[in-house]
């Protein structure tokens, strides 16, 4: 009898043990790597190029990642070395006249880091034509409602012979009143008018070249929020065409002015921004159910990108003008 009880007891104990389960422990050392130089440099047509140099914080390490203030930078425009000014706090500046088609090479070294290098070129100008802004009433996929929106239409021509990469941004200019506090204990205020320039959201489902999500995705709350309002696209659908972008943005007021910035990007600029936007928006990947895009970099030995661009901004106009 006792023996039987012991057996039952053992079975019950083993069953309880089974149900407790066991979880895996992930060894973070798999991710351990050395800190790297992080370099961002976006040369464009004009005379000033900013270079930002910081260091990364490797996963698993304790140390902080301060800006790199003692970097040695070799900036070459079409093979000619240029003077680089250290502005402090990891910021550097080159002042030299640059134009579309120029080649830029960059080498950065700093104490305690492996030296890095990258190269790019400044794209040729993009020709922007007509621009208009109109208040429309339309069904909005994001808000799932019929509502007033502003439609910005900007026309440009894509060259047929090259594979081109673009970004577009919508800007709103408004005058708003701001409180200015004064008095011994800041007990009084007056108002003043402040000019405000803001990048605004574009409903990317309204424009075929920007549309990356299907309607089902919108229903399920997936988003394609771009990095700092840079809406990216390439010319696969419009190669060689004169094309009008239709950019629907939220409607605020008929008195606000609107403009569009169209960027022609180098592939490295485009791929970097696309990779960080995609990684940030991919909710399935965060739980291991989809591929997460690796962060693009053309900085050999480091992180970041050196990517040229050419920007064209339309004039400011008010809706329905």
């Amino acid at each position: 009898m006792m023996k039987k009880k012991r057996i039952y007891g053992l079975v019950a104990f083993l069953s309880a043990l089974l149900l407790t389960g066991c979880h895996d422990r992930f060894d973070i050392d798999q991710l351990r790597s050395a800190g790297k130089l992080v370099v961002y440099c976006m040369p464009a047509a004009g005379d000033t190029t900013l270079i930002r140099v910081t260091s990364s914080l490797p996963v698993g390490s304790k140390k902080s990642s301060p800006p790199v203030t003692d970097a040695t930078i070799d900036y070459r425009l079409n093979g000619q070395s240029q003077q680089v000014e250290n502005l402090g706090a990891g910021n550097y500046r080159v002042i030299v006249r640059q134009k579309g088609g120029d080649e830029v090479k960059l080498g950065v070294s700093a104490t305690g880091f492996v030296g890095v290098s990258a190269a790019t070129h400044i794209p040729l100008p993009v020709v922007v034509g007509d621009f208009s802004c109109e208040k429309i009433r339309i069904y909005d996929t994001y808000d799932q409602a019929v509502q007033d929106e502003l439609q910005l239409r900007v026309t440009f021509t894509d060259p047929a012979e090259t594979h081109d990469y673009y970004a577009v941004r919508a800007m709103r200019f408004s005058m708003r009143k701001e409180k200015v506090w004064y008095g011994a204990d800041w007990g009084f205020y007056t108002t003043r008018e402040v000019a405000e320039y803001k990048y605004v959201s574009i409903h990317s489902d309204s424009e075929p070249v920007l549309k990356n999500l299907s309607s089902i995705d919108y229903d399920y709350g997936f988003s394609d929020t771009p990095y700092q309002h840079m809406y990216l696209f390439d010319d696969r659908l419009i190669n060689g065409q004169t094309y009008t972008l239709r950019l629907n943005t939220p409607y605020y007021s008929l008195s606000d002015s609107m403009a569009v910035e169209l960027y022609r990007l180098t592939p490295e600029y485009y791929h970097f921004l696309k990779s960080i936007s995609d990684a940030d928006n991919n909710e399935l990947a965060k739980v291991g159910l989809a591929v997460i895009a690796p962060t693009y970099s053309n900085v050999k030995g480091g992180i970041g990108y050196v990517g040229g661009y050419y920007r064209q901004r339309t004039p400011w106009i008010k809706p329905n003008q």
């Binding site: 973070i28 914080l57 996963v59």
Partner: protein
């Protein structure tokens, strides 16, 4: 000769080399031109005092049978000492000494071989005459008339054999004379038949099923990896699928195949099938010859194949026969059972989540039969009243969740004659998910009502009308009309109403999406066996695909009683394509050692805007080093014209299929496989296979957002890339009457490169370097069967950040974020799991068999890691990573009654 069933078959046969072109005067000569040369046997009389007379005496005295082929010259005179009083071994040694004949013993068989170096100089006694040959053909069936696929038909006399095709038909051409045929099939009693062949002969054979675990009889099993020319083929009978363990006690074809070497299962429980590094959409699933696009229920928890009606599954992962095409990585040819032509019987099963019913029997005894399998989940029968009770007690918030799936397989077979057979096979499978949330609040004067509703429906309808006709004993033909319908439908509804007295405000939106595929076509397949050494297959098929991905409709209205905005939107995509395939292949046995299977699959894919034509060569060869050892090699190319577009590793109903467009190219792969197969003893079978596969024009969704790209320009949202996949697979099988053990080990590398995504080669998500799987099935007692299966593999890979860094300031300020430097840069902790199962059989008083099944998935409750969560801790400034796993131990049961 006495009683033929016991007599050894002994004839004096005289040889002379002679080509007989006359045999090639058929239309098939076009395919065999220059290849069909063989030896013509000649006949002679038996002299007195010959070896043969002595062999007859040994046969009578020692009860052994002599087995030898036509080359062995037994019509020699015997001048040696008497054999009386000698032991069998001594008698044999004495008899064949100096005759140029070597002998060996295998049980009651004495196998004779002619030594070429010492071929006797005896000349034929008669003038040479051409040996006549005749064909034996027919069906191998079970006692209920069910045809058996891959059954072996083996002539012990000439040591030549063949297997039945996917309709149970065989054909073997042999020299005139006496032969002893052995018919065998795993799980069935072996049958031997002695025949005197003087003309073409029709012979349908019924085999008796064994009730215990079948003892493997590998010698002469022409479907065994040891003897067939195929590399990378696995065959599963219903007994292999309906094991004592099954997840949620529902036997599953896909999960059975997942245990095979060279196959990665992907995400746990999701029924993924990543074969030799391929993607989940690179597998061709054929159900009675019709393609199946949606192969899962419950997003992978159950496969669409109802094991009750599945008769045979041939699974190919390399060395693809020429008759298959259209997918890069694997072919799974599933055949359903015909239905008993003599008796009514069936079974019903109730399990933890689903139940099934299977019925079969004759409609017209011996002529027409039916087989019906129905399976349905029944959880909704509980959830519906449960939610009704909950909702009754809560007036403000109501919730409803209802999920169910069903599948129905039906097959009718009619035998017009012993040459003509018609069958109609249908499959209808559907999943349905419904969720509804309703909120109601307010006072007597004002009420708010909020309703959110989702409906999903997805599944397949397949139909195949099959006509088999035996044109001649050597030529079997099959004509099939196929229709496939695949549907994925999704509807959402949102409704908000505010009522205040007589005034009301409404906000209402309905969205509907559906993606469909309609395939209609026909197949013509010919199976021609002109000689035992040649097995020709040729045919073609034509399919019209009509893809309609993401058809969209929307109805929206907003406003009040007096004024409302109403908006209706509709959008659709469609792609009509025509696919034509033609193939020819010959399995040619060159001699005792060498055999080769060669052919080609030609495909034409017409998208209206562009035509693609591809020729895929298929070659396999085997070297039979001995009865217990063989070596094989194969090279095959495959082309795929259709793609499943999805952003996730799990099978979602929102996924859709599309054809290759003019902007893209068909995906292609070439695969080389080599293998060694060894049977050290009767109970063991060992194999070692290696493969190297290269795939080009692979597609990968390039945006990594949401669930799927918009279908109207999907081909601009994908990038093309390459894959390199290679590895080694070792398999071992042990089987006796009580115990069966299967062990498989895979060492593999899966690498990909998509330049738009990452400009270097990187490892695939399912690059499981090591995979080891062992399963054991045994009979504990007469009615109790036990299963244990353990799997261990390297964890899946995942992309994890390696750095935390500044992000660029593009005019909106600085920020920081994770940097992902390399795709799939980490390996998740090793996956391991133990599954246990018991079947307890019992006979009821009425003679019905009842089976209790108890299954335990993940018996020691190891929460295998699904992903690693990496977070930056603002307060400590450190990055932390934690493994996340959610699948616990899952016990289940089912109860089956067979009648």
């Amino acid at each position: 000769m006495g009683d033929l069933s016991h007599a050894s078959v002994i004839r004096v046969v005289i040889r002379n080399e002679k080509t007989i072109i006359q045999y090639m005067q058929t239309k098939m000569i076009l395919f065999l031109c220059g290849l069909l040369l063989f030896t013509a046997p000649l006949r002679a009389n038996t002299p007195e005092g010959s070896l043969q007379k002595q062999m007859e005496w040994i046969h009578t005295t020692h009860h052994v049978d002599f087995v030898y082929n036509a080359e062995v010259v037994v019509n020699q005179s015997y001048q040696g000492p008497t054999l009386r009083g000698l032991t069998l071994e001594k008698a044999l040694a004495t008899l064949f000494q100096g005759t140029g004949i070597s002998w060996s013993r295998d049980g009651r068989y004495v196998i004779l071989k002619q030594s070429k170096a010492t071929k006797p100089s005896n000349k034929p006694i008669d003038a040479p005459v051409r040996q006549r040959r005749f064909t034996i053909s027919g069906y191998v069936k079970d006692t209920g008339g069910e045809s058996l696929i891959n059954a072996t038909v083996y002539d012990l006399t000439t040591r030549q054999g063949t297997t039945t095709n996917e309709y149970g038909f065989y054909s073997i051409t042999l020299p005139e004379g006496r032969h002893r045929l052995r018919l065998s099939y795993l799980g069935f009693e072996e049958h031997e038949e002695a025949i005197h062949l003087t003309a073409d002969r029709r012979m349908d054979i019924s085999l008796q099923e064994r009730n215990n675990l079948a003892e493997v009889v590998v010698t002469g099993d022409m479907n065994s990896p040891l003897l067939n020319t195929q590399t990378g083929k696995r065959t599963f009978s219903q007994k292999d699928i309906k094991t004592e363990f099954s997840l949620l006690s529902s036997p599953d074809v896909v999960k059975t195949v997942q245990r095979t070497s060279g196959v990665a299962e992907g995400v746990e429980l999701a029924s993924g099938l990543y074969v030799h590094g391929g993607n989940n959409d690179e597998n061709l699933f054929l159900l009675d010859g019709t393609p199946l696009y949606q192969i899962n229920h419950s997003m992978g928890l159950f496969s669409s194949f109802n094991a009750d009606v599945v008769k045979n599954v041939d699974f190919y992962k390399s060395g693809f026969p020429a008759r298959y095409g259209g997918r890069l990585s694997s072919v799974m040819d599933v055949r359903t059972a015909d239905g008993d032509l003599q008796h009514y019987h069936g079974s019903y099963r109730i399990g933890l989540l689903d139940g099934s019913l299977q019925l079969e029997g004759p409609i017209q005894r011996g002529k027409t039969s039916f087989n019906l399998g129905l399976r349905r989940s029944w959880l909704d029968l509980i959830t519906t009243p449960v939610f009704a009770i909950i909702n009754r007690s809560n007036k403000e918030d109501k919730i409803n969740i209802n999920y169910n799936f069903h599948d129905l397989n039906a097959k009718i077979v009619h035998l017009f004659s012993d040459r003509s057979r018609l069958s109609l096979s249908t499959y209808w499978g559907r999943d349905h998910l419904f969720t509804k949330g309703e909120s109601l609040w307010g006072s007597n004067t004002a009420i708010d009502r909020d309703v959110i509703e989702n409906r999903f429906n997805w599944g397949n309808f397949n139909m195949a009308l099959d006509w088999n006709y035996v044109f001649s004993p050597k030529l079997f033909a099959n004509f099939t009309g196929v229709y496939t319908y695949n549907l994925s439908r999704f509807n959402t509804l949102y409704d908000y109403t505010y009522k205040n007295g007589k005034e009301s405000t409404v906000s209402h939106s309905e969205h509907g999406y559906h993606s469909t595929i309609n395939d209609v076509g026909y197949r013509m397949a010919f199976d021609y066996r002109p000689l035992p050494s040649h097995h020709l297959r040729f045919g073609h098929d034509l399919t019209y695909h009509w893809f309609r991905p993401q058809t969209f409709s929307s109805l929206t209205y907003f406003g009040s009683d007096t004024k409302a905005d109403t908006l209706k939107l509709q959008g659709k995509n469609h792609h009509g394509t025509l696919e034509l395939n033609a193939y020819v292949e010959d399995e040619w046995t060159l001699n005792d050692h060498w055999s080769v299977d060669f052919g080609a699959n030609l495909s034409l894919f017409d998208t209206r805007l562009k035509q693609f034509f591809r020729v895929d060569p298929r070659v396999a060869m085997k070297y039979q080093a001995g009865q217990r050892l063989s070596f094989k090699a194969s090279y095959t190319m495959m082309t795929q014209f259709v793609h499943k577009i999805s952003n996730s590793y799990i099978d979602l109903p929102t996924d859709y299929w599309v054809p290759t467009t003019e902007r893209l190219h068909p995906m292609r792969s070439g695969q080389l496989a080599v293998g060694a197969y060894y049977q050290p003893t009767r109970h063991w079978l060992l194999s070692l296979e290696g493969y190297y596969k290269e795939s080009n024009r692979l597609l990968q969704y390039a945006n990594w957002l949401g669930l799927e790209p918009p279908a109207d320009a999907w081909d601009t949202k994908v990038s093309e890339g390459r894959g390199r996949f290679y590895g080694v697979e070792a398999d071992a099988r042990y089987q006796d009457k009580r115990l069966k053990i299967d062990a498989a080990y895979t060492l593999s590398w899966n690498r990909r490169r998509f330049d738009d995504f990452f400009p270097e080669w990187y490892y695939d998500k399912f690059d499981n370097r090591h995979k080891f799987n062992i399963t054991m099935r045994c009979r504990l007692s007469k009615g109790t069967h036990f299963y244990a299966g353990w799997i261990y593999r390297t964890g899946n890979r995942m992309t994890a950040p390696t750095q935390y860094a500044d992000m660029p300031d593009l005019g909106e300020g600085r920020s920081q974020g994770f940097v992902y430097e390399r795709p799939n840069n980490i390996v998740l902790p090793a996956y391991h799991r133990l599954d246990l199962g018991f079947d307890i059989h019992h006979k009821t008083k009425r003679g019905r068999e009842r089976v209790w099944n108890w299954s335990i998935y993940n018996a020691y409750c190891h929460f295998n890691t699904l992903f690693v969560n990496v977070k930056y801790d603002e307060t400590t400034g450190r990055i932390r990573a934690k493994a996340k796993g959610y699948i616990p131990i899952i016990p289940s049961f089912s109860y089956t009654i067979k009648f």
